[in-house]
Amino acid sequence: MIANADALLKPLTIKGLTIRNRVMSTSHAPGYGRDGKPQERYQLYHAEKAKGGIGLTMFGGSSSVAPDSPAAPWNQISVADDSVIPYFRQFSDRVHAHGGKLMIQLTHMGRRTKWDTEHWLPTISPSPRREPASRTIPKEMEEEDIARVVKSFADAARRCREGGLDGCEVSAAHGHLIDQFWSPSVNQRTDKYGGSLENRMRFGIEVLEAMRAAAGDDYVIGIRMSGDEMIADGLSQEDCLTIATEYAKRGLVDFLNVLGGQARDHIAHAISLPNMSFPVAPFLFLPSAIKREVDIPVFHAQRVTDLATAARAVAEGHVDMVAMTRAHIADPHLVKKLSEGRADDIRQCVGAGYCIDRIYVGGDALCIQNAATGREATMPHEIRKADLRRRVVVIGAGPGGLEAARVCAERGHAVVLFEKSGQAGGQIGLAAKAGWREAMSGIPRWLVAQVTKLGVDLRLNTEATEAAVLAEKPDVVIVATGGTPFRGHAKGAEQHAVTTAEVLSGAVEPTGSVLLYDEMGQHNASSVAELLAKRGCLVEIATHDRMVAEEVGTTNQPIHLRELYKLGVVMTPNMELIEIYPEGNRFVAALRNTMTDAEEERVVDRIVVDHGTLPVDELYRALKGASVNHGQTDQDAMLRGEPQPFDLSKGYALYRIGDAVAGRNIHAAIYDALRLCKDL
């Protein structure tokens, strides 16, 4: 049991609403909304957390109260009319059935949205200043706009109550309309809504007073706000303290949900959603400072990934509730596991940011390591036992192989897991060697602990041969042998280029000047560039893309760019590597500008490339002929969630997953494994 666990497992009562413990999930936008409504997928995602013991789960990050704050951008929820109420009722019944409480976030995003996504209404804001992140120039709000939006908030609050939700919060964080009024970086009005802080607070006060009037004094209404905008012309910590105490004192809010920073541009966004390069709970001091000034509960989220930190935050009195939003995406059952004394079984969030990065490019939130999250209708978080115990051989203990072994062992099968190297984890072991990406090692650490606990016969330092596999008399063979780095098509690359993997593994230790050519736009090249620059190399990173690390998501890419700038790495976009040849004991790289076709040369000590991986499939091909299914997965059966239709009395079935099929990513490998093995 972790220290101070009892502090987390104490109930909290707010206005007669008792939340069973101090662990919550903040409102966010997982991209699961459909037609502006929280439908089955969205509801099951939160119900799973309630089933897993969470005290309070808040959904609908940035749920809109008015059409000029459209719900479309993150497939979000519109609370702008009554048609959402039946969905709220169904939703709250689902969560209440498991003893959890459910709240929503209501907002008007003001300038922080787009005008061209749904209703083609102009965005609005206290003053017409463009926000870099949303890229829109808003209309300056007239008094009529203010009155209209205030009424929209009030109507939305009533809908929440009628829908059976336990409460709601308004968002005044990340640069939404209320904090656009607060922040001098946006609000340049000269009327009663601008100027002094007292005037800038007025709009929010009118909103909350109207919501109270509409939803009743006994309805729980809170506010999400920043404790310090951390920008030169923004709200200082002192301003935020003043706002928090004023709103609390007026009885407008029942809780304060405090975070650090805002999100008006790329790096601010990355800081407000801290990734694994940050320490845990980096902004805990902000809610802590506010808690000392107010007598209502204070909530906080921001990279609290482990229960020990969460328990400390509550036990030491910094906050009343800890939000572990991403931690629940990794493991929705973490509170249950804590209270059942199974804290070691918690799949801990590593802070990869895969979930959030997907939604900012229009995708749905998925967990890099838990393929069941957001797929509750089809993928189980708790694996059911199979009727028949099979002998399963898995080859390769990377993330895919480990997940396959784990799921098969949970199904009750006898599992042998071969791993050629001395360490499980596959390519994650390499990724974790690169500077701030070290926390990636948490993914295989959990998987190895689980397979060990489940009695999987994990054979490290053992290369699987055809004979060794067949000697196990398997019913099922799963090839998860991963990929091998590819040196690319440039002339001379095969002889003269080294790969990022070789640098990370230590096989090659470049010195002097390095040209790093990246065709993937992923973490790999940027990480290696940072690593080499820190080791004293003079590094230029060239890429085919329009910018460096183009495929890396919005909470991670700014961190890479920040590091690369700080380290003096030269960034050269729109370049293609066409040839490498030696000159003396150095190398010449020929680069061609993808826009102009103009060619340039670099003379460097080492050329490092990242072209992704090609499958390691020799063993698969050796085993394929004798297998009952010729190595083919019946995709239709798998997509229908049905068992693979092969007769195992006649021999073994052979499957291939992860990068051994085609180089993709960790989530793909783990999802391959889960959806195949849950029905084996």
Binding site: M1, D6, L9, K10, P11, G99, G100, S339, E340, G341
Partner: protein
């Protein structure tokens, strides 16, 4: 004929002389008992029941060691029969009957066989649990009396006494008078004191088939609280300690002794005996672990407890009040009562609680919870389960008493399982919630009777506000206090342990568990359920009902070994060489069971605190819930 007439008188005369000597010795000893305070004793009833108490209750204990049982039957039966028959031979018709003397000879011969059985336990090597000292000469005294008696009776039977008779008679006299002499402070004291103790036993309920285990309330207005010196005990308690036969069965059963903590119940009783009598021969059994030997002062007014007294305070605080010694004692001695009396003085008169126990007891006194946790936090474990409160409902069929375990994270799991089961079975129940206070069990066992009584009165007053048919609790310590000790404070309740209640629900078809055949389980009996309340069957029946492969530990039921969690021992935390729960889990591991089923929050905490344990520790409610869910 003429010549042996006087001898036929001398021989019975010897026995009469023995009786007289024994009487004198007993009277001298009884003078010491009289320093004790008065005690109400139903003498007539006690004496009338004496044979039954001896033959049924004592025999039930003695028979657990079949050799000792046979030995005692032969030697004691023979001794009593031979002596009685010989004594009757002062009647001339009997004295002149050769057949009668043959019968006497036979009785002595049986005694002789018994004497050999007695000797065989001590020679060539003494059994480890037995005391040496004067007990080592007992077989020789018995043998001398028996052989001398046999030969004398045979010679009288055949009528050719001659010159041999004086020698055989002398042999019998040496043994017989020796035995009688030993009635005061030797091995034979147990016979007389034991018989009187059975008649004047301070807990007569033990012999009437009910568990007479409640501690007696202390009059807090009395001039002295608890026992500091021998004279502070009642006279029949002093008598009871003299009944000790130093057999050492208690030390084998004692968990603290096994763990190498400085407690040996036999030595403790013998120290009470020696404390009473400055002339007592030296103790000759196993010492307190740790090897401390202190003579201290002796005498009825001598201080018994102290760092330099006969009994070190650590000895007192090592006791878990598990009653294993009491359960094993063939002389029906109440060791735990003695410990609590001594603790009461230490706590109430001297404020000399062990350092680590001061905090919890102070918290109990001040806030009603040993951990000083707010009373409303007792229901934190059930947040989200919407526990019905008596304060809201006023009445319910079942009042669920949550106990101290409710504050414990681990045990919260058990209580949640229990609540779910009650819901599943549609039981109409409610809890006191913030109105529930600690039963005071911890305070009472640690001698703080004042705090216990205050808590008992508060709880009784709270319970009086509501209507309920029964109290159900998962905590045997709470159960014992509520069921057996609260009646003295005006609270007669029907109290049911959760395992018995769950069994009722299963039998009534209100819970329909599936079977959990994959698990093998061994059940650890809580002391306060099994020994204090005699309930050993219901928990086992629940486990059987869910189809578990149940295996028993070598020590189980009323003879189970304590987990170390009772009597305030965990808060006193007296160091030993080993930990009691480690020993118990090792015993559980010997069964090979994958699950140790428990039915008490203290046992759960103690056993789950064992590092590197091979088995899971799960409350019966948790196992049953799993089975009920499997059965859906």
């Amino acid at each position: 004929m003429h010549s042996f007439m006087p001898l036929t008188t001398v021989f019975p005369g010897l026995v009469w002389a023995m009786a007289a000597l024994a009487l004198v010795q007993t009277a001298r000893r009884a003078a010491l008992w009289r320093v004790g305070s008065a005690a109400p004793v139903a003498w007539l009833h006690g004496l009338a029941r004496l044979p039954r108490r001896y033959l049924v209750d004592v025999h039930h204990v003695v028979a657990r060691d079949p050799y000792a049982s046979r030995m005692h039957a032969v030697v004691a039966g023979g001794l009593l029969a031979a002596s009685l028959l010989t004594a009757l031979a002062i009647l001339p018709p009997l004295a002149q009957s050769r057949a009668y003397w043959l019968l006497v000879a036979l009785a002595f011969a049986v005694t002789a066989v018994g004497s050999v059985l007695v000797g065989a336990r001590r020679y060539p090597a003494k059994q480890k649990r037995l005391s040496a000292g004067r007990f080592q000469i007992l077989p020789f005294l018995l043998l001398a009396y028996a052989v001398g008696g046999t030969l004398t009776a045979l010679l009288l039977a055949v009528g050719t006494g001659g010159i041999a008779l004086p020698f055989t008679l002398a042999l019998a006299a040496a043994g017989g008078l020796g035995l009688a002499f030993e009635v005061r402070q030797g091995p034979m004291r147990h016979a007389v004191a034991g018989a009187l103790h059975l008649a004047a036993h301070p807990r007569p309920g033990r012999f009437e088939g009910r568990p007479d285990t409640a501690l007696q309330p202390l009059d807090l207005e009395a001039p002295r609280l608890g026992a500091e010196m021998p004279a502070d005990f009642t006279w029949n308690r002093l008598l009871s300690y003299d009944a000790c036969v130093s057999c050492g069965r208690c030390e084998i059963a004692c968990p603290a002794f096994a763990a190498g903590q400085p407690l040996n119940p036999k030595r403790l009783i013998q120290d009470l005996v020696a404390g009473l009598n400055p002339a007592e021969p030296p103790y000759a059994g196993n010492p307190y672990p740790g090897g401390r030997e202190a003579e201290g002062e002796r005498g009825p007014l001598a201080r018994l407890i102290g760092p330099d007294a006969r009994i070190h305070p650590d000895t007192l605080w090592s006791c878990t009040t598990c009653r294993a010694c009491v359960e094993e004692c063939p002389m029906m001695i109440e060791h735990v009562d003695a410990v609590v009396s001594l603790r009461r003085y230490q706590t109430l008169e001297r404020g000399a609680l062990p350092e680590k126990a001061i905090g919890p007891v102070t918290e109990l006194r001040q806030s009603g919870d040993a951990g000083g946790r707010p009373l409303p936090a007792r229901t934190d474990f059930a947040a989200g389960l919407d526990l019905p409160l008596m304060a809201d409902r006023g009445q319910a069929d079942v009042l669920l008493w949550l106990g101290e375990g409710a504050y414990d994270l681990r045990y919260g799991r058990t209580l949640r399982a229990l609540v779910r089961l009650l819901r599943q079975a549609n039981v109409d129940f409610a809890v006191l919630g913030p109105e529930e206070r600690d039963t005071g069990d911890l305070a009472r066992r640690l001698g703080d009777e004042a705090t216990f009584q205050a808590l008992a009165r508060e709880n009784v007053a709270t319970l009086a506000k509501y209507r309920f048919a029964r109290i159900v609790t998962a905590d045997p310590h709470a159960l014992h206090a509520l069921r057996n000790e609260y009646p003295a404070f005006g609270g007669p309740y029907t109290v049911v342990h959760h395992t018995a209640f769950l069994l009722e629900l299963i039998r009534a078809g209100r819970l329909t568990p599936g079977r959990l055949p994959d698990l093998s389980v061994t059940y650890h009996d809580p002391c306060y359920l099994a020994r204090y309340n005699g309930e050993t069957e219901a928990p086992r029946a629940v486990l059987d009902a869910i189809g578990l492969a149940r295996v028993e530990m070598a020590r189980s039921g009323k003879r189970a070994m304590c987990c170390g969690g009772g009597g305030g021992a965990p808060v006193s935390d007296i160091p030993g060489e080993r930990r009691i729960p480690d020993l118990r889990m090792a015993q559980a591991a010997e069964t090979g069971a994958g699950v140790v089923a428990v039915a008490c929050p203290s046992c759960t905490a103690m056993l789950e605190g064992v590092t590197d344990r091979k088995a899971e520790v799960r409350d019966i409610a948790e196992l049953l819930l799993q089975a009920v869910e499997a059965g859906r």
